[in-house]
Amino acid sequence: MTAGLLALELARPAALLALAFPVAVLFASRLLDRPPTTATGTLDVWERVRAALPPTAQRARRRIPPAVWALALGLALGAVALAGPRANAAGPPRVIRALVDVRPSTGLPLRDATRLEAAKSMAAKWLDEDSHGALVERIERAAPFGPDDDRSDTIWITDRAPASRPKHAGFFASGGPAVPGPIAAEGTARWDWDGERIVEVPGGAPRRTFEVRGTLPAPIARVLEAWAGARGVTARSPADEAADLVVHGAGMNASSPPHAVEAGREGWKAKGSLLRPAPSSDEAGALERWLASDDGLALVSSGAGRVHCAWTAMEDPTGDPAAFAVSWASLFDGAIRPPRGIVELGERAAAGEAAWAPPRTDERNEAAASASPLEAWTALGALLCVAGAWALARPARIG
């Protein structure tokens, strides 16, 4: 019962001020319901009879008529109905999904921080003031966010306000001016945007590295080496920072016997073996399956900056040899992190003014609340009580 009451909320709490009316009705009835004064010549007889009564019964009981009680109850229910009682949609602690835009543009500097930090600050301020106590589920994703992300429990944290305001989701966009800087790199050359023009900087390309952990089958190792040479990606040395691409090979000391597999894509096919399937996630997050065996085992999965290869052995692939190289090169191109400091020209453009909007109330919940039978039942109860008061008062007028 208590939990049920606590789960109620009022759409118009100010209407509860109308509860003063039933209180006033009861008070007035009490005041006006003074017993009539009647002259008698036998007061001494009444006094003797009263003296024989128990003390609690010696005074006239001033009863409020049932019609007045019914009227007061009706008015009270009416006030509650006006206040709009409904089930508390919040109920358990609210969970807010915070989609954090991790596009390169959000990492551009803005004042003394980054665009993303500024947007996070805006969201944090709103969470603190308007959604205190809500739990926040942080999800890092690259914008744009799609229709599936347009939910009333979701906020978008980004740098550029969406072209059209989402119907349900809130958003916090830092905005920010254009940030000139490197916009592309190829080979050893780098291209910078100075705000007006694009300038080539020979030899200015940032150096990228790769690292192989474990053992890769020879065909794959050869393609990786060729791809790295073509892209100017060098093997990571101990003095380097973290590699821009880490390729995880399969371990060779597993106790279980290897499993023969055959797989292929994009015009090539190869036989080989594996000890265990490629993982679907690692400590850095979810991985996308890139290659599976004919019998459905994951052979290769990848994510930003990493590739997991489960092949323990691989025969030379059949089919077009170039197709094998191009296929794997596209995998490495997609997985390697972009050159540090390189942000595409479109990303460096101005992000506009800072803007934000809170999530909109879930229309479904609101519709459910407006159609909540509790308010209707309360109003109906109020009407019935007032009608009952009228019926009770008709035979003998109130007051």
Binding site: R34, P35, P36, T37, T38, A39, T40, G41, T42, L43, D44, V45, W46, E47, R48, V49, R50, A52, L53, A57, Q58, R59, A60, R61, R62, R63
Partner: protein
């Protein structure tokens, strides 16, 4: 007592028969002619002096119907009877607005003046003291008409004396005898000013009625023991009914 009245050696007229009258005084010839019983009135009755003590205290204003209204009508009826019998009747008002007063009726022609006197009466104040002994000299009949609420039998009964009869006529309002149960009421005593608020549930009303009945019965028993006619009447009865049942012999 009634047997001693209404008989005498010198006939002066007739009056209606009342229960208790000596049948020897009944005029059988007149009964045969009028089909109503009449008794012969002797000279001794005709020379009597009657005193009617009419209570006009504030409690007599209780009603409806007003107790004073009915009591005044009864007093006037007694005066009419007395004048018919040739008795001199003094209506003495106890209490009432303006203090104690009296009106004497010696001839039937003075009845109109008595009615006017009674018509001006207004209930108020206390009922005051009973008539002193000197006021009762040569009075052969005393009538006490009122609610008797402020009188006690031991004070009233001495009004009866040698050669002087006493009749007690108590008049109470219906709401005093049988208050309607239900609801609450604040009872107010117009004489003493006291107030009592009570919820009139049936049990309480029944207890009140028993207590009042006990009081009235006490009056009736004491009066009967002393040979004093006593009657308790509601003010909603007509004065003719009251007179019929308490008519002097």
């Amino acid at each position: 007592m009634p047997s001693q009245l209404g008989v005498g050696s010198e006939f002066v007229g007739h009056r209606p028969y009342a229960p208790g009258d000596d049948l020897r005084a009944l005029d059988w010839d007149l009964l045969a002619r009028s089909s109503r019983p009449w008794v012969r009135v002797a000279r001794r009755e005709a020379g009597e002096r009657w005193l009617v003590r009419l209570d006009a205290s504030a409690s007599m204003g209780v009603g409806p119907p007003g107790k004073l209204q009915r009591a005044a009508e009864v007093a006037a009826g007694i005066a009419v009877w007395g004048s018919r019998s040739g008795a001199a009747v003094c209506v003495s008002v106890a209490g009432g607005e303006g203090g104690p007063r009296e009106f004497r009726v010696r001839r039937r022609s003075e009845i109109a003046g008595l009615l006017a006197f009674l018509g001006r009466l207004r209930a108020g104040g206390g009922s005051g003291a009973l008539p002193p002994a000197r006021a009762l000299a040569h009075v052969s009949r005393v009538f006490v008409v009122g609610d008797l609420r402020d009188l006690r039998p031991e004070l009233v009964l001495p009004l009866r004396g040698r050669g002087r009869s006493l009749s007690l006529i108590q008049i109470l309002a219906p709401l005093e005898v049988a208050p309607a149960p239900g609801g609450s009421v604040e009872w107010w005593d117009p004489e003493r000013g006291g107030r009592v608020s009570l919820a009139l549930d049936p049990a309480l009303v029944a207890a009140y009625e028993r207590e009042l009945e006990r009081e009235v019965e006490a009056w009736r028993e004491i009066a009967a023991r002393h040979g004093v006619p006593f009657g308790c009447f509601l003010s909603d009865r007509t004065f003719e009914e009251i007179l019929e049942r308490s008519r002097p012999a």
